[in-house]
Amino acid sequence: MRFMSKKKYALLCLCLTITTALSSAQSAPAASNDIIIRNAIVMTATRGTIPNGSVWIHDGKIQAVGETVNAPPGPKVTFIDAAGKYLTPGIIDSHSHIALNDDVNEATSPVTPQMMMKDAFDYQDKAIYRALAGGVTTSLLLHGSANMIGGQAVVIKHKYGATRDEMLFPNAPRSIKFASGENPKRVYGGRDQLPSTRMGNFAVQRQALVEAQDYMREWDSYHEKVKRNDKDSKDATPPKRDLKLEALADVLRGKLMVQIHIYRADEMLTEIAMAKEFGYKIRAFHHALEAYKVADQLAANNIAIATFSDWWGYKQEAWDAIPWNAVIAMRKGVRVAIKSDSEDFNRRLNQEAAKAIRYGGATEEEALKMITINPAWIVGVDDRVGSIEVGKDADLVIWDGYPLSNDGVPEKVLIDGEIYFDRQQQGLGTTHYKEGE
């Protein structure tokens, strides 16, 4: 299957579905799109750990999980023996800027919600492969933090060697990046432009949202006119489309999840107030190094955080960062993800999550959640990935040692039931990408 072309594979899947349906009475012919990983220590992230378990993958989805699974009969099932090895969900990085061809920030205006990160997506970037080798299967590629309101994110699966479109997470919800604090201030203040202060930052944000409200009202009234279907309706002319305001109107309509780059606790409170003022929800605060100071308010507003484990001091607004941030926030009811924001850390997010065990005493499962189901929620794909549960995408990592450590490393990484990385292989260890291609 590994070397089968996509088209053939899809065709085969279709055929098998039919065959299976037709032959349910007799023993179903073995499906080559069935994989069973057995004898693994299965860390499900949401339903505990099975000390000696199996996972049955069918058509790229998890079909069964348990101490034993009812293996489909026939010789064509691929078995992966994982005796003594650990199996976890694929890691999800909820804050990444890799594979954007260095086009992270459109830093020419502090409000650029019409930017689509997908337009810069470089599916051949080796950083995708290096993260894959560290167990990352899904990443949220965000606009940078130069602008108060940046662009719209793209969600990718790390299927290195697949085509561009195959790497895009299908039907992923839309996210938009907001920022606050030092970065917008520095970028625009450095050019003697607005904003150069935190007051300026929030004024720019509020102004943009006010304009979006007006724009939304114009469109709403147009649609209403058309809908009334009376004598005015046919004269109704649609307002001029403005991509920037259209995107912001989608924020106000709750169609775009708001992901905010933020450090200081006071700014978190201001952003929460701003969201209430304009009636949108904040999905997650990113970096959020002072979340531990206002964790109650974050929990009350169902705002997650995507934070670093122990990074600090690289700028003034990171001065109060503490490595207990993740666990203090978690204990107060905040959904916590550990993210990379880096081509370096996205290769070893498991080690970063393990630090939550040391700093604050997270349990193994709590730590694992910080790099799987919790970031999946931030990205809005927690119904599809982020845990080992029946029906979810078979995005899985087989580790040759305990993953919540710094000496357990991925041996195989599967996405949608296909192996994309195999440490045992020579060369890069990639199964779909061939050097020189």
């Binding site: 531990y292 001091g313 109060d320 960062a321 490595p323 070893r348 630090k355 000496d407």
Partner: protein, 458 residues
């Protein structure tokens, strides 16, 4: 886990806070304790009472693991190490039950910017490197070292007790290193060695070639960097010749009652280079690619410099050559990204590849805020083939040897400085919690500005 650390650890911090952190309002009880301390206090770095850490797993580094061992610290030194049953504990010793704990020597970070930076993006808090010239051997990190840096307690409560402080690598000769102890009441106490080594960087990043042709200035190429370095060392050789000549003339004048000759004008740059030209001190030679590495080595050989290698993150094709040089390597950081055509683990596996070829390796954080994470780099390297014992040596004994302090540091051995770490597990694992650090036999307060914030908000 049955031991006294949960209790005693905090007692140590309260009673024996010899090294204060940032000034903060103190609770009344602490003020009373401090007043008492004032009466009873002995000067810093004098361990007043022997301490015996009993029943722990000892990672001695030099003589293996002792599963149930005892360490005795007295007068700032280790005075006994061995199986619990065989060690005689002095009658007046404070005895601490460390059952379930792992004890190992203080860790040594072979390149940091500790004391040279506080907040990365705030330039007024940075004294990392002079960029006005590329040849700056007369810069002494010891003279910028900020002993009260809030970063130092953050590193030391994770068991890092000693470190090299090096200037940032933007110049070919950015200045001279210091070797510090991460505790002391002032910079003088903490700077164990000043000007103990000098980086010589040759990675290409030292070129002044940013911003296109019109903005380039000399040296914009590797030829420029090398020519400039050669000139600097030749100038220093000339300077030495002048000094020698002057010495001879002066002696001659004194002997023959002639008027004293004019002393050569002092040249601080050349003066700083002399001990290195004379092979008395170590050059830390940094390169990354095979070609830069070989150019740098030939330059060093041209002037008979004594050197250790640094970085060589992308020199995998010439590791046999590296081994043939018979010099230690400060390797990494192993988190450096591989080149695009390299396998994902090309740099992760470098320590193992070097060790396999008999090269002595040490690790460095190359950082200031994240010095505390030094041991995890060593632990990670074990996942890519470096034997565990070698990984631990690379942040203890090997480092002590390279920096010429192996008679005092780097292992649990009688007579060495009592820099000792007590932790609840494997020092190389991220999950391990350090319970108590001793520097010169004194318990270090297990607090930093981060623990203070934690306790305020948890």
């Amino acid at each position: 886990m049955k031991n006294q650390f949960s209790v005693l650890g905090s007692q140590f911090s309260a009673i024996k806070s010899v090294w204060s952190g940032r000034p903060r309002p103190l609770p009344l009880i602490l003020i009373l304790v401090l007043l008492l301390l004032l009466i009873l206090s002995t000067p810093a770095f004098t361990q007043s009472q022997p301490i015996a850490l009993k029943n722990a797993k000892l990672l001695t580094v030099t003589h293996g693991v002792i599963e149930n061992g005892t360490v005795v610290m007295q007068g700032g030194k280790i005075t006994a190490v061995g199986a619990a049953a065989s060690v005689t504990i002095p009658a007046n010793a404070q005895q601490i039950d460390a059952t379930g704990m792992t004890i190992y020597p203080g860790l040594i970070d072979s390149e940091t910017a500790l004391g040279l930076t506080e907040i990365g993006a705030e330039n007024m808090t940075n004294d990392l490197v002079e960029m006005s010239d590329e040849i700056m051997p007369h810069m002494h990190t010891a003279e910028a070292f900020h002993a009260e840096s809030a970063l130092i307690p953050v590193a030391r409560i994770n068991g890092i007790t000693n470190a090299i402080v090096a200037p940032a690598s933007s110049d070919t000769l950015p200045g001279q290193d210091s070797f510090i102890q991460l505790a002391g009441s002032n910079a003088t106490e903490m700077l164990l060695l000043r000007d103990n080594a000098m980086p010589l960087n040759f990675t290409g990043d030292e070129r002044r070639n940013r911003g296109g042709f019109e903005k380039q200035k000399f040296p914009a190429t590797r030829m420029g960097l090398a020519a400039q370095l050669r000139q600097a060392f030749i100038d220093a050789q000339d300077y030495k010749a002048k000094l020698t000549d002057y010495g001879r003339k002066k002696a001659d004048a004194a002997q023959n009652k002639k008027p004293e000759p004019l002393a050569p004008k002092r040249d601080l740059k050349s003066e700083a280079l002399l001990p290195y030209l004379e092979g008395k001190k170590t050059i830390v030679l940094a390169a990354e690619s095979p070609s830069d590495l070989q150019t740098a080595v030939s330059l060093a050989n041209e002037f008979k410099l004594k050197f250790v290698l640094n970085h060589i993150a992308h020199s995998q094709p010439v590791l046999d050559y590296v081994a043939s040089l018979k010099v230690p390597v400060i390797v990494g950081p192993i988190y450096e990204a591989p080149k695009d055509d390299e396998r994902y683990d090309a740099v992760y596996s470098l320590p193992a590849q070097l060790h396999k070829r008999g090269v002595k390796i040490v690790f460095a954080s190359y950082d200031a805020h994240n010095v505390r994470n030094l041991p995890y780099q060593a632990g990670f390297a074990t996942a890519f083939g470096l034997p565990y014992d070698e990984a631990l040596k690379a942040i203890t004994l090997n480092a002590a040897e390279i920096w010429g302090v192996a008679d005092q540091l780097g292992s649990l051995d009688i007579g060495k400085t009592a820099n000792v770490v007590v932790a609840n597990g494997d020092p190389l694992d991220v999950k391990t919690d350090v319970k108590q650090v001793f520097i010169q036999g004194q318990s270090v307060p297990m607090t930093d500005r981060q623990t203070v914030l934690r306790d305020e908000y948890k």
